[in-house]
């Protein structure tokens, strides 16, 4: 008996979400490959430089917003169903959020890809941050709003299951998989307030022409109200895998249940009031609020550093149970021949490196050294592009068999895949960091100076060597992606049917929930605290920005 046989309805929902996620991953990843060759100048024959931004928008939206959101929905359906031992309460409701999100995704994707049609009127080359006054087709914004509404309904679905479970189990502690899901969604509700106001309140009426002018700073600020917390919306499900599943894959148990809960609570409280750290270089935001954002951002290092300890300690526990010894030698006893483990572990190592560049980004003034340079995509290809994406791919090797009741095929290819991703990303991201340090900008089809006979002056290495590392790294990443999609597709369609395609048992933590203070499960308390900190960070600056009118000082829309 595996998940499919116990919860067939939920398995179907999870699978549907994964299918959408993997299609978005394939398409978005392919765009990334084209960009890597284009911006390095290695091969520019696919599209011209003006179309580059359409592909870049597709890459960002499909991977950062669509792949993540759908994968997370599938993962959480699995976790909530399994840990509460109940199917979703109402399948019509469950399928309705899935289809609302899917319709929204298709609308946004059509608007973006319309940019590749010569002389087409539908365009959305506004990148995934869609700062006005660059204007996309209304379908783009409406599609995004639908994805958002669908994700809210998905969260409501999981709270509904929890309520019903609570009625039947009034004294039990919240199971850890459900706990992590609900706290991630609480954070999502806090931060998406900003996005909803921006998209529904400002951008949709403006793109439809109901209002003509727009004040650029207000939507930008509202975007970053959402825009940093969204990275934790991607990251927390990876943490969920590292806390709940990785210890068992390592042969051990989660080190501490209470630490896990504390980490998720800190993320709920601090994820949103940090948004100005994306606006350190902006006029119109006072130094005091920039400093407040830096202090909260730096405090957010704490839960990630705690996670580092807890997760590594859980892996070490597994290694020692498998016979590991010494200070360092135990690492060799970890199952480096199992794709799910290898992917999660390599993702964690990459996250440690990405964590460091994130610390630089967070420093209010040192940020200017790398603001909007290639360093930034170098950073987030380590975090969301590896810590999150590689964890999701790796855990698919463990989850998809449970959802389909079929064993994994091509296990050797599956094992090679995370190693190739790690290699490709090492090449690409180290070069991106160094190029950014030399001042090479991000988000550009042709990063070289064109007419001025100026050149960038790298601190480490040469521009030529960085260019080739980015191009070759991007190519290796595409190969890794193809391996992943091949293994998953063939296993899904033609894997050997089995009652027990993987060992899906998850042992209790070493320090279990009996040691965890009850106050940690008080969702109302932590949610209220999160709202208060958001009000402190945002109420005054937003109030100030709208004093001269919500759309003033107004700028005219510009085609994207």
């Amino acid at each position: 008996m595996t998940f499919l046989h116990k919860f067939p309805k939920a398995a179907k929902v999870s699978k549907a979400n994964f299918i959408v996620a993997f299609i978005a991953l394939g398409l978005g990843g392919f765009f990334g490959f084209i960009q890597a060759l284009h911006r390095t100048g290695v091969f520019r024959g696919f599209f011209n430089s003006g179309e580059y931004y359409t592909l870049l928008t597709g890459h960002g939206v499909l991977l950062a917003l669509i792949f993540t959101t759908f994968f997370i929905a599938g993962l959480f359906v699995w976790g909530v169903t399994r840990s509460l031992e109940r199917e979703p309460e109402n399948m019509t409701f469950t399928w309705s959020w899935f289809w609302i999100m899917t319709i929204g995704l298709v609308m946004a994707a059509v608007a973006i890809l319309g940019g590749l049609v010569p002389n087409g009127s539908i365009r959305a080359a506004v990148l995934y941050t869609f700062y006005p006054p660059l204007q996309a087709h209304p379908m783009f914004y409406i599609g995004l709003a639908l994805v958002l509404i669908g994700s809210w309904m998905a969260g409501a679905d999981w709270f509904w299951s929890y309520r019903k479970w609570r009625e039947e189990n009034p004294t039990d502690r919240i199971p850890i998989l459900t706990f992590m899901t609900l706290f991630t969604m609480l954070m999502w509700y806090v931060c998406t307030i900003g996005l909803a106001i921006e998209v529904v309140g400002l951008l949709i009426p403006w793109s439809l022409g109901w209002v003509v002018e727009i004040e650029p700073l207000l939507p930008r600020t509202l975007f970053w109200f959402f825009g940093h917390a969204v990275v934790y919306f991607w990251l927390l499900p990876a943490y969920y895998v590292w806390y709940a599943i990785l210890p068992k894959l390592s042969g051990g148990r989660l080190f501490s249940d209470s630490m896990t809960r504390i980490v998720f609570i800190i993320f709920l409280i601090l994820s949103t009031p940090v948004g100005y750290h994306h606006q350190y270089a902006d006029a119109g935001i006072s130094l005091g609020f920039k400093f407040y954002a830096m202090a909260t951002t730096m405090l957010l290092l704490l839960p990630s550093l705690m996670t580092l300890f807890t997760v590594v300690a859980s892996m070490e526990h597994g290694a020692r149970q498998r016979g590991g010894k010494g200070y360092f030698a135990w690492v060799g006893k970890l199952p480096w021949d199992r794709p799910a483990f290898v992917g999660c572990a390599l993702a964690g190592i990459m996250f440690a490196a990405g964590g460091f560049s994130g610390m630089i980004n967070a420093g209010m003034n040192v940020n200017l050294l790398i603001h909007n340079t290639l360093w930034i995509p170098g950073h987030f290809h380590l975090t969301v592009g590896t810590a999150v994406a590689l964890t999701f791919m790796a855990i698919s090797y463990w989850l998809v068999p449970q959802l389909t009741g079929r064993k994994l095929k091509f296990k050797t290819l599956a094992l090679i895949q995370p190693y190739t991703w790690f290699l490709g990303m090492t090449l690409m991201s180290n070069a991106m960091h160094r190029a950014g340090l030399a001042g090479v900008p991000r988000r550009t089809a042709e990063p070289e100076f064109n007419t001025n006979a100026m050149s960038f002056d790298p601190v480490f290495g040469t521009m030529g060597e960085m260019k080739w590392q980015i191009a070759i790294g991007g190519t290796i990443l595409l190969i890794s992606l193809i391996l992943f999609l091949w293994v998953i597709t063939t296993s899904w369609l033609a894997g050997e049917k089995s009652d027990k395609p993987v060992d899906d048992y998850i042992p209790e933590p070493l320090s279990g929930v009996e040691h965890t203070p009850a106050v940690l499960d008080n969702m109302k308390l932590w949610f209220a605290l999160a709202l208060i900190l958001v009000l402190l960070a945002y109420s005054f600056p937003l109030w100030e920005m709208i004093q001269d009118g919500i759309f003033e000082p107004g700028a005219l829309p510009r085609p994207s």
Partner: protein
Amino acid sequence: MAENNSSSSNKSDPSQSWEQQNPEIEREIGIEEYQPKGTLTFTLMYLGLVVLMWLFMYFVEFGGNAPSIIE
């Protein structure tokens, strides 16, 4: 974790722990016994590295990268 043991296991003896049922595991290590000294070593090395790289990035790369915004 409210996990159901029935979803486990190759063997059905409920008195055996997960570790005892798992042939890859040599010995079960309980919470009283477990000292994550390897973890502490690695995390301390990471911390030291991060501090050194921060000092370099902040005081050499950034501090020595004039002109800067002075007001």
